[in-house]
Amino acid sequence: MDFTYTVLIPLIPLFMFLFLGLNYKRIKEPISGYLGTAGLLLTAMISFYTAFQYFFNYGKVDGVYQKIYAYNTVWINFTETLHIDMGILLDPISAVMLIVVPLISLMVHLYSIGYMHKEPGFTRFYAYLSLFTFSMLGLVLATNLFQTYIFWELVGVSSYLLIGYYFEKPSAILAAKKAFIVTRFADFGFLIGILIISYVAKTFDFKVLTNLDFINNLKMQAGIFMGLSVVTVALILIFIGGAGKSAMFPLHIWLPDAMEGPTPVSALIHAATMVVAGVFLVARLFPMFYFFDDGFALHIVAWVGAFTTLFAAIIAITQYDIKRVLAFSTMSQIGYMMLALGVSGYGGQEGLGFMAGMFHLFTHAMFKALLFLGAGAIIHAVHSNYMKDMGGLRKYLPITNITFLIAALAISGIPPFAGFFSKDDILAAAFEHNFPIFIIGYIVAGMTAFYMFRLYFRIFWWSNPKYKHKPHEAPATMTIALIILALMTVGSGFIPFSDFVSPDNTPFQSHIDWNLAGASIGIGLLGIITAWIFYKKEKDLSQRFRYAFGNVYKWTYNKFYIDEIYFFITKTIIFKYISAPFAWFDKQVVDGTMNGIGNGTVWISTKIKRLQSGKVQDYAMFFISGVLFIIMIIWLSVNY
């Protein structure tokens, strides 16, 4: 089958971006919304068709899913093997992403028609959404590391634009900048990793890089650096890039702030697509992670994931801004996916962790997008992000209530909702391979249920605050998106994922271990019941706990002061002790301001400074001393 037509998948959103971006003054709301949604509908149809054809008709040869280059063009040639290509790669994980990305993006497009109603720059918003979708599709379909990197950056740029969309809000601008710079910083790890790979492996191509024979050869050839294969070092660097985008500790600080962006953007970027790019990247290079240095890099992935999942879950319990609760929950769930990849083996049943990680990515995209969009509907109704302004909403927002409940049950791991199946697979994989991580995962499962139902009961039950306006259900475009996602959340758990995704692309059988499943359902229910006791009706039980925990609570509420630590390092150390002296030097010495001259003569000094300053002499002095200094240094270090 010729898959060349798949180039349309990224190109349609690109076209929509250019079209809407160039005509943003002419095309008015809601036409641009309809156009954007229609464009994305087309993309989604083609994507789903491609994924279907791949999985059921043409992808499998002799029982193994093939990596198919639907399209590939050499772009810059370095050597015979090392060249930068642009193309489209179809394999099980990119086909899965072909379902996730367009589906969630389509829902967000649809939903935003209602949510962004009467916002200034409505068309601009749709243009950015299309740009983001284009970048994300280019990223997941990339045939090689370099293409991945380019789209990776494009994703960063477009999310910068989307987070900073409300540019009247200073906090939104700060958040956008923070997200951009933090992830950029991590990306440099990625870039250096790519450089090292290109030198050691002499190729960027995924098909070659994940080939087992090639990996075995490379193991022999690659040099050693600090006791590790150079490739492992490169993989760790690449993982730093992934950790930045996926908000893994300690590079997570941008994600909670990024909630300043419009809520549909959070649903798209911070729940389902961009933040899982790191997971996708590790999955993409999985054979390399697994085989070099006995999976040393993979262990790092597992532990970073495990730590983040616990860390974020603890913080999520204490937050009051509903979007921030969801942000920390996202971090925690991505940590879950990472740890699943981290504990995975290779081949047959061993690949359960890999499969479970991707499965969780898939189901999480559905229910987390649903939660975010639900949160959007709530915020739309009460005009606030804070729990204190909510309560008893189940009477006013029936559809949102039901869909939110379904998503909350799914994330808590209650059958038959999607999250149960994927979470259970993750726990099973961890149980097999790494018991301490399993314990962490198990505890987090309970905490997740607790904070999610704390959120749910607090919003939809509790007691009514005095609403100024009676909250009303969201318009149809928004509720339709909620209902579709809710259906997906109910249904997607039943997909036999191991028939499609595995580390070696060979389907295997997986089954539910009911002992383990029972235990995980148990702890989920425990979390839900605890939340029910605390939050079903308004009472001060939670307050009393808060006081009892005192400082522990305060630390947690303040996200363990990680932001403050960064702030201290950048503001105090870099600015005060490094940059400020430079600025002083610039001002006092280089700029030659006549220091020490009394206030009365400053005026004269500024007048004459321009005409006859001592500056040029200073420059000459610097110049000559520079030359002499360099000569001296070299003379001293050579020996003739």
Binding site: F582, A620, G626, Y640
Partner: protein, 476 residues
């Protein structure tokens, strides 16, 4: 030597012809029609640029003092395009103030003479030739820096530039004579392999290097940069920051890679240290600037540090990546300066805070500013990213991972301050933003070419392939 050999200097001859025609035209055009000189100059130079693209024979002249080959020819074309863009952007500035109109011709004559110097500079294969052409390229620029005679800052810039330049050429000349003393010749070819390691040759190398480092604005020879860029008319700062800098880098590369190759063990560590210093100092100063021209001055200092990082790999890839980076850098910086100039012309404002809310009033020019700055910061898919990427590759290929890491840290710092400007223009609001203004057709054409080039040069890979193929001439 017969006359047809002189055609090897076709670029130079055509340019001299252009200058002569301009001198005559300047006399004949009546004072009240002085603006016409602009069109004559731009038209003539455009023709010159086009002629430049006609392929040229390879060969040497004047007993090997002057050579031309596809590498030199290609680089001259890049310079031509750069200068064409700069004068396109300069037209509206020249037209603005009628008091200055009387000297319009002078501006072009000086800038073309300096370019002529650059041409000889990059073609020279003899130190004497190199020195003379360096002077020819510098002196007209000092006059240009002081061109705006009604502006004290401009005069100050001129004085500062000429004093600093005189000092640097003195030291350069001294270094050259030391190299002559150790190698016994002024010809590059004859010197190659004959210099030897001695205290004398090292002193010669460093002094020679300092003379060119002055033009490239490497730390600690960069002090003039900020003052001169700030004071000089913007087109002149633009010229200094791209054309002057890149031709100096080019000839530095030729001399280091070929003639002084045997002193590699000396100049590689030297460049290593200077590269780090230059990146950090340029960046830290840029961080605190309010005036955009000063800001761009320090940013161009930092960029020079990156170039040195690629250079010290000292192989074929290094040569290709440096030239590729220069070509892209020329466009990025011209774009940034072009926008600053257009804004300053329309509103007289040059500070970053004045740019608050620019996007709301002037969306197109803000976009161009953003693209240029993103290119300087190295954000894909804009060309600047690829330029930087190849520099990293060159340095990493020789195992200078630490340096690459330091460069990466610096790129992050630079991203921060480039974003400050972008943020001001796009995200900040202002009570009284710079009002909407219209630029003249020349500015528009110039900036459009810049934007197209910034996307095209990065994404169109045959461009890199071409550079890669011509750098084989260097035989390294």
């Amino acid at each position: 030597m017969n006359l047809s050999n002189m055609l090897l200097m076709r670029n130079e001859l055509v340019l001299i012809l252009v200058i002569l025609i301009l001198i005559i035209a300047d006399i004949f055009v009546a004072d009240k029609n002085k603006k016409a000189v602009n069109y004559i100059a731009v038209g003539l130079f455009a023709v010159h640029t086009l002629i430049g693209f006609i392929p040229l024979k390879e060969g040497a002249l004047f007993g090997g003092m002057f050579v031309t080959n596809s590498l030199v020819w290609g680089f001259k074309n890049i310079l031509n395009v750069g200068v064409l863009l700069i004068i396109l952007l300069a037209v509206s500035w020249l037209n603005k103030n009628s008091l200055r109109n009387r000297k319009i011709g002078e501006f072009y004559i000086l800038i073309f003479s300096s370019l002529l110097g650059m041409f000889y500079l990059i073609s020279s294969r003899n130190f004497l030739m190199l020195y003379l052409s360096l002077e020819l390229s510098t002196l007209p620029v000092t006059a240009l820096a002081a061109y705006d005679i009604f502006n004290r800052k401009s005069s100050e810039a001129g004085i500062k530039l000429i004093l600093s330049a005189a000092l640097s050429s003195g030291i350069f000349l001294f270094g050259m004579s030391l190299l002559y003393a150790t190698g016994g010749s002024l010809y590059f070819d004859a010197l190659t392999g004959n210099i030897g390691h001695s205290y004398l040759s090292i002193a010669g190398l460093v002094m020679f290097f300092a003379g060119l480092a002055f033009k490239i604005s490497l730390v600690p020879f960069h002090f003039w940069t900020a003052d001169v860029y700030e004071g000089a008319p913007t087109p002149v700062s633009n010229y200094l920051s791209v054309i002057s800098k890149s031709s100096a880098v080019f000839i530095l590369m030729i001399t280091l890679f070929v003639t002084l190759n045997e002193l590699k063990d000396i100049w590689i560590p030297m460049l290593y240290g200077i590269s780090i210093l230059t990146m950090f100092i340029g960046n830290f100063f840029a961080l605190r600037q309010q005036n955009l021209k000063r800001f761009l001055a320090f940013s161009s200092v930092a960029q020079a540090g990156f170039i040195m990082m690629g250079m010290l790999a000292a192989d074929h890839l290094a040569a290709s990546s440096v030239i590729y980076f220069l070509a892209i850098y020329i466009f990025s910086n011209i774009g940034a300066f072009g926008v600053v100039q257009a804004v300053s012309l329309a509103s007289g404002k040059e500070n970053i805070s004045d740019y608050n809310g620019l996007y709301r009033t002037n969306p197109k020019i803000s976009l161009i500013l953003m693209i240029s700055l993103f290119s300087l910061a190295g954000i894909p898919p804009i060309a600047g990213f690829f330029g930087k990427f190849f520099l990293y590759t060159a340095a990493a290929g020789k195992g200078y991972y630490l340096l690459v890491f330091i460069a990466v840290v610096n790129v992050t710092i630079s991203l921060y301050y480039y974003l400050l400007v972008v943020r001001a223009a796009f995200l900040r609001r202002s009570e009284n933003p710079i009002p909407y203004f219209k630029s003249d057709i020349f500015t528009k054409i110039g900036l459009i070419i810049v934007v197209i080039a910034l996307f095209f040069l990065g994404l169109y890979s045959p461009f890199y392939d071409y550079i890669d193929s011509v750098t084989h001439i260097l035989n390294i």
